[in-house]
């Protein structure tokens, strides 16, 4: 209970926790410094799940379209306006990877987007990719911490966190920052990995479930997981409006098997061997993600809301 509470950030974090948080951030940066290249090589610039029709069969070339669809479905879920007067004019991509979402959103809305990541390698790569696409004047990237965003209050019309929330060690602080940098009327979109919601009689997941998640946490530099309900409660506590949440696990089901298949190709294996131990460990843990989804333990969640005017 104390561990879950600390992960939500609901109590003052002690020195040991602070040190662990620093270690985690370094681990995240190093993991992505090491792994981004191989991911980009095989999968391209979107470092997130694709959105698929349930029970569809997909070829590798369809995955990029599915990753783009994930972005569009998330925007639709959050009812982000497309009307030229009401569409977002400033966007922040929190946990931007190599800028796939940033580029897409900047192009879609014809506006500025800035992305933050803990990984200097990713930020530099993001910048180069944007420049290569002629978007250098629309997207910018900084090495920064999502828990301490280097922006003044109320800066952005769209606050975007696509599969980065699972890395955040203090969920309350994370959500607080998302809300802080959101302008009045702005939409906040969080797409992230959660564990199943606890029933009213449960204080925590059962030991086997925690064991499985611990192995995944270790390989992907994730702090303790929380549930979709936890996110909803945090958003409610900040008086954010139009809070919506959904379980999209069935729409991402083909993703991990596809990633595993891509890792087992000749190119995948040789790239993994060349990339480093952190990346290899990440690859080896992929079947555990599938197991987690199958058991209904891991959920692919979307949570969106609007900051009051």
């Amino acid at each position: 209970m104390a561990v879950r509470q600390a992960s939500l950030g609901g109590v003052d974090v002690d020195l040991e926790t602070k040190t662990n948080v620093e270690k985690l951030k370094r681990g995240i940066a190093e993991f992505y410094d090491e792994s981004s290249g191989i991911w980009e090589d095989i999968w391209g610039d979107h470092m997130h799940h694709g959105f698929y029709d349930p029970n569809s069969t997909i070829s590798l070339s369809d995955h990029r379209a599915a990753q783009v669809r994930m972005i569009e479905e998330a925007l639709k879920f959050a009812s982000v306006p497309e009307d030229p007067m009401k569409k977002p004019k400033s966007i922040v991509d929190v946990g931007c990877g190599i800028g796939g979402s940033s580029q897409y959103l900047a192009r879609k809305y014809g506006t500025e987007c800035t992305g933050i990541t803990l990984s200097p390698v990713q930020a530099e790569r993001a910048r180069a990719l944007a420049a290569a696409q002629g978007l250098e004047n629309k997207v910018s990237f900084e090495v920064a911490d999502a828990l301490n965003q280097p922006f003044p209050d109320g800066k952005f019309d769209l606050v975007w966190s696509m599969e980065s929330g699972e890395h955040m060690p203090e969920k309350a602080k994370f959500v607080n920052e998302l809300a802080r940098v959101a302008a009045p009327g702005a939409r906040i979109i969080i797409v992230t990995w959660c564990h199943r919601n606890l029933s009213s009689s449960e204080q925590s997941l059962n030991p086997d479930e925690n064991k499985l998640l611990d192995k995944i946490c270790d390989a992907y530099y994730l702090p303790t997981w929380c549930s979709t309900d936890d996110y909803v409660k945090l958003l409610q506590s900040l008086s954010l409006q139009d809070i919506k949440a959904a379980d999209w696990s069935e729409y991402v089901a083909p993703f991990w098997p596809a990633v595993i298949r891509s890792a087992l190709t000749w190119k995948g294996i040789t790239s993994l061997i060349l990339s480093g131990w952190k990346t290899i460990k990440g690859a080896m843990v992929m079947p555990l993600m599938m197991k987690g989804y199958k058991k209904g333990l891991i959920k692919f969640a979307i949570i969106t809301c609007r900051k009051p005017e």
């Binding site: 250098e136 004047n137 910018s140 900084e142 911490d145 280097p150």
Partner: protein, 122 residues
């Protein structure tokens, strides 16, 4: 880092109330040509901190931007072009951003600012 980006960054060190604008220390400035978009610029004038832009552009070696800007100046092509140049075409490739309150230095390498805080600053 363009000055448009600089105009949205602030020091977020714990306890800092006056973290904007970050002072710039230049090591390398690069000028990059960007398509001139008057409509975009007209929208931006109201959104940015103009004084911070003027100061920053001077430090980056561009002294043409007038000290103050009135909305009526947006009718002037001359002003728009200077505004465009300062906001979009001056890049800090290497240098430092300095917290105005604490003097803490945030490096800029290959055009990417590193705004990560140390353990004792959060």
């Amino acid at each position: 880092m363009r000055l448009l980006t600089h105009n949205m960054l602030s020091s977020n060190i714990k306890g800092v109330t006056n973290g904007f604008p970050l002072r710039i220390e230049v090591e390398k400035v690069v000028e990059k040509s960007v398509d001139f978009n008057p409509d975009f610029l007209k929208n931006m004038l109201a959104k940015i901190e103009y004084k911070a832009l003027v100061e920053a552009s001077r430090i980056m070696g561009y002294a043409e931007l007038p000290d103050h800007a009135e909305p009526s100046m947006l009718e002037s092509d001359d002003f728009l072009r200077k505004f465009h140049h300062a906001l979009m075409e001056l890049h800090l490739e290497e240098g430092t951003l300095v917290c105005p309150q604490t003097g803490r230095k945030f490096p800029v390498n290959k055009g990417v600012p590193n705004m990560l805080l140390h353990e004792d600053e959060v």
